[in-house]
């Protein structure tokens, strides 16, 4: 029993990754596996996966447009984090100018994807949950959920677009815009290339 508890607690953890050397992690994994040390093998393979996630995250950031409308990004605020556990890698960029922001995050293995796909592919369920503020749209052929939110002033709206790509979820939120504008901005994202990298 104690062995089981120790083993489960050792393996079932969530950690934010820092850069690890892929080759070193794989060498550790193979050495540990050949020595029959399965727990060490598992840990080293997770380290290797974190490294791959970080590389993929950086490649995805390179694909993103340099600006959204008049909003620009600061590379220092770009963030790629690898989480081993329930959620996969998280890629995050903020575009901003003054107080206005556009926030883009991409989460691989997102736990919200299943629910999102259900809402998008079950018209009756989506209809039951309709509150006048959400609708299903298509962006570059991908179904997405568009949600209207309160903006910075009474006469303005923010919009949030959630696009499931396989097991990943892209969440794109833009302050003070119209539904047409956010869709135009989303069309500047190379979704097919991003999907190819993260799936």
């Amino acid at each position: 029993m104690k062995f089981i508890i120790t083993l489960i607690r050792f393996i079932a953890f969530t950690t934010t990754g820092i850069a690890q050397d892929f080759a070193k992690a794989m060498t550790s994994a193979k050495t540990a596996y050949n020595a029959g040390k399965l727990e060490e093998t598992h840990f080293a393979l997770q380290q290797a996966m974190q490294e791959v996630d970080l590389i993929v995250g950086k490649e995805v950031l390179k694909l993103l447009p340099p600006k959204i409308d008049t909003l620009t990004f600061n590379a220092k605020n770009d963030n790629v984090a690898s989480n081993i556990g329930y959620v996969g890698a998280t890629i995050h960029r903020i575009y901003e100018k003054g107080n206005r922001k556009a926030d883009l995050s991409i989460i691989s293995n997102s736990p919200l994807v299943a629910m999102m796909n259900t809402l998008l592919n079950t018209p009756m369920l989506g209809g039951m949950m309709k509150d006048g503020k959400t609708k299903t749209v298509k962006v570059q052929g991908y179904k997405a959920r568009l949600e209207k939110q309160a903006g910075s002033t009474d006469d303005k709206n923010d919009y949030k677009l959630q696009i499931p790509l396989g097991s990943a979820l892209i969440t794109f939120k833009v302050d003070d815009c119209t539904d047409t504008q956010i869709l135009d901005f989303a069309n500047t994202l190379p979704l097919q290339k991003i999907a190819k990298l993260i799936q």
Binding site: L7, I8, Y33, M49, V56, G85
Partner: protein, 161 residues
């Protein structure tokens, strides 16, 4: 692991990740088999039915792994242990362990109560149709579940488990 290294070298990161996931799942299943081997062959007169031994995983990640063994005797007494992802009990465990108010909601008729197994929080439940079920929560998604058929009382269940 070799396929992951080859794909990584070719900058095919999607394939590298997929191969790593397969390697992780393989290691987890091997670990599961080690856990199975560590379980006793007999428990107080009950013999392990090794034909029903199971180690299964739906995808990589400890939360997707299930390990199962059944012990029984000729008199229809049976003990089944499930370690890891016991999907059908996950909702029940979450409800009880996350909501202390549920534990004593209906004292006269309730058929479950909270106990401790070697210091770990557990729930024991009884139903005429299935006997005793003991659930020990380990972490956020893993648990150990004992399903006990034709056991005399909860004390016997706890001693066996």
């Amino acid at each position: 692991m070799t396929e992951a290294e080859t794909a990584h070298g070719a900058k095919n990161y999607s394939d590298a990740r997929y191969s790593l996931q397969q390697a992780l799942m393989g290691v987890e299943i091997q670990l599961g088999r080690q856990i199975l081997k560590s379980l006793p062959a007999t428990i107080d007169g009950l013999q392990a039915d090794t034909l029903q031994d199971k180690v299964m995983s739906t995808q990589w990640g400890w939360s997707n792994l299930s390990i199962q063994r059944v012990w029984k005797n000729t008199a229809d007494k049976q003990l089944t242990i499930t370690i890891g992802n016991a999907g059908i009990y996950a909702g029940l465990a979450t409800l009880y362990f996350a909501n202390a108010g549920m534990m004593e909601a209906n004292a006269d008729k309730q058929n479950f109560k909270q106990v401790r197994i070697k210091g770990n929080k557990a729930i024991i439940q009884y139903e005429d149709s299935k006997g005793y079920t003991l659930i020990v929560s380990l972490g956020q998604t893993s648990m150990v579940v004992w399903e006990c058929i034709n056991f005399a009382n909860e004390q016997e269940v706890i001693v066996y488990c």
